[in-house]
Assembly symmetry: C2
Homo-oligomer: 343 residues x 2
């Protein structure tokens, strides 16, 4: 049983819930024998969804939760009021040690608040960052933080850099990952007050491979592995990435369909183009972990399909196997001791 | 003479100076009879460059400036120390009324500092924003502010919204342009401290067509005309736009060249694709104006070629004809009166 990764899955969250969430759960257990899924949500609905599939039934268990938290609800209030919601029920299982991880495509706000209030932070972690993987020309980079904590302080960003480095090294397998801080110029003296204060702290940090400022222009080229920024900027980066990519592909398609000659060409180009562009699709890379909590919390995109849900579930196995939280605890503990020594 | 737009052009600034700058000046006067260019820089060098072209010679005058401000120089120091630089000499001509506008592809920092210190702000303007046009699926949107003022206050953003609206309406010809504030969610209660404070101020502003929050994802689709944000976020948006676009096009090309079938297709698709993508190329839209100064200051991209320099010069004519600065003065004045009344 201890070799199993137990994932509490919010079956009611996201634009395509419960259909795609349930399907993603089924796909995950069809692929892996070491995953146990605890599917939280309205029992009758989920039973009906599951009845469509053939899968190893002992690997998926429905855990009843009558309420649903909607995306538009104020998160703090929703988490407090809807104690029998699919999110709260699932998170409590992580808190109580009944599940190792939690995955949701539901309200980002509710997941972030629930993560802090219900699952709780690792001792010493000031703020848990949301850290999605961005596709780049060289593979993926980790964008940290991206939505959890606006108006962050320099010490938060230093912790983000450390936690992000651990994740990139242990889960993604990037040895000694490079760390950069998002800035509006390459020079150390550039930036806003937050960046100017954080830069020397990162430079002085012995546990990370800090390479200095990274301008937003360079991010898609993948020269920096861990991209540190405060959440407002991170959110803008993540969403603009998606927006420019989508708009540009629309433009490319329009261009290819503008006359007969191009239409013929488009037919020839399409298969190879599709395969190449798949690498640049964020949904291929699973959900974004909320790091620094007593258990893994993964937020997948609201529009997730079964593929993304399945990828996010499988990601939890690596996270558990690699003992990420033990590593984060050790890193944070070490920082505390260092700062005591320097006092 | 009063029908002429007199443009002081920094011939020494930018990656391709002086060659492309001088060429851009020649192209501008070849196209328009109503432009007078004052080319600032090293006299001998510029004479030699100009000697390659045939053009109406009375429309370009060389104004000697022996020094050059490099991009890496600290801007405040450079503006103070290099009094005979192409930037300082040109800006002083705007200040003295010898030129209507200033165009440079040189150090952004020096242009921003020089704009404030040498050209000076319009009375009542708290901070002059840099406002580039972003290509979108529907045309262009104005991104304001984008590099001039980090750590801005809510009152600055309100002025940006007003100045941006005037520019979009008068120079770009968009009637009653919509204004949005960059935010991390659509709801009014979302955002960091700056956005939360600014949102109600914009909502209460009678002179602009405020439509609420705009998420970064939506920007490339062009549903909002004037995109208000503080400079750090604006700089990230501008540069990431460029980065994602460039990386994705590289990926598209790779995809098209991956096998023989695709290579044939690529040949057929290429001309139509190129024409469509031209619309999504920021360099087609001229430089970014630095608004709210006693004269027009335009910053073009450091890697500008003659086409962008020429477009930026021609943009100055519309700016002058449309009396943008008179309109900005009136709008700022009106705000002062309104805030006095409400006191």
């Amino acid at each position: 049983m201890s070799d199993m990764t137990r994932v509490a899955l919010d079956a009611m969250g996201g634009d395509n819930a419960p259909r795609e969430i349930v399907k993603g759960a089924v796909e995950a257990v069809q692929q892996r024998k070491d995953i146990q899924i605890l599917l939280t949500g309205q029992e009758e609905v989920l039973k009906k969804e599951l009845s469509q599939y053939t899968y190893p039934e002992e690997q998926i268990r429905i855990v009843g939760a009558t309420e649903v938290i909607e995306t538009a609800e104020p998160p703090v209030k929703a988490i407090r009021a809807k104690k029998d919601s699919s999110i709260v029920v699932a998170m409590k299982m992580v808190k109580n040690g009944e599940a190792d991880a939690f995955v949701s495509a539901g309200s980002t706000g509710a997941v972030l608040v629930g993560g802090q209030v219900l699952v709780g932070r690792i001792k010493g972690v000031e703020r848990p960052p949301l850290a999605p993987l961005l596709p780049t020309l060289k593979g993926v980079s980790l964008l940290i933080d991206c939505g959890a904590n606006v108006d962050a302080r320099p010490s938060h960003l230093v912790q983000f850099a450390k936690m992000g480095s651990i994740y990139m090294e242990s889960v993604i397998g990037k040895k000694n990952p490079t760390v950069g801080i998002v800035n509006i110029g390459a020079e150390e003296e550039k930036g806003n007050a937050l960046v100017k204060e954080t830069f020397p702290l990162l430079k002085a940090c012995p546990d990370i491979n800090f390479v200095g400022s990274v301008e937003a222009r360079e991010i898609p080229y993948g020269n920096v592995d861990v991209i540190v920024c405060e959440a407002f900027v991170g959110n803008v980066i993540l969403k603009l990435y998606e927006g420019v990519g989508g708009a540009l592909m629309k433009k490319v398609k329009q261009g290819m369909m503008s006359d007969l000659r191009s239409k013929v060409g488009a037919l020839l180009v399409k298969p190879a183009l599709k395969a190449t562009l798949k690498d640049f699709d964020a949904s291929e890379h699973g959900g974004a972990p909320l790091l620094g909590l007593n258990g893994l919390v993964v937020k997948t995109h609201g529009s997730s399909t079964s593929r993304e849900v399945c990828n996010s579930i499988i990601q939890c196995v690596t996270f558990k196997e690699q003992k990420i939280n033990e590593k984060i605890k050790a890193a944070i503990q070490k920082t505390h001791e260092e700062s005591k020594e320097s006092e």
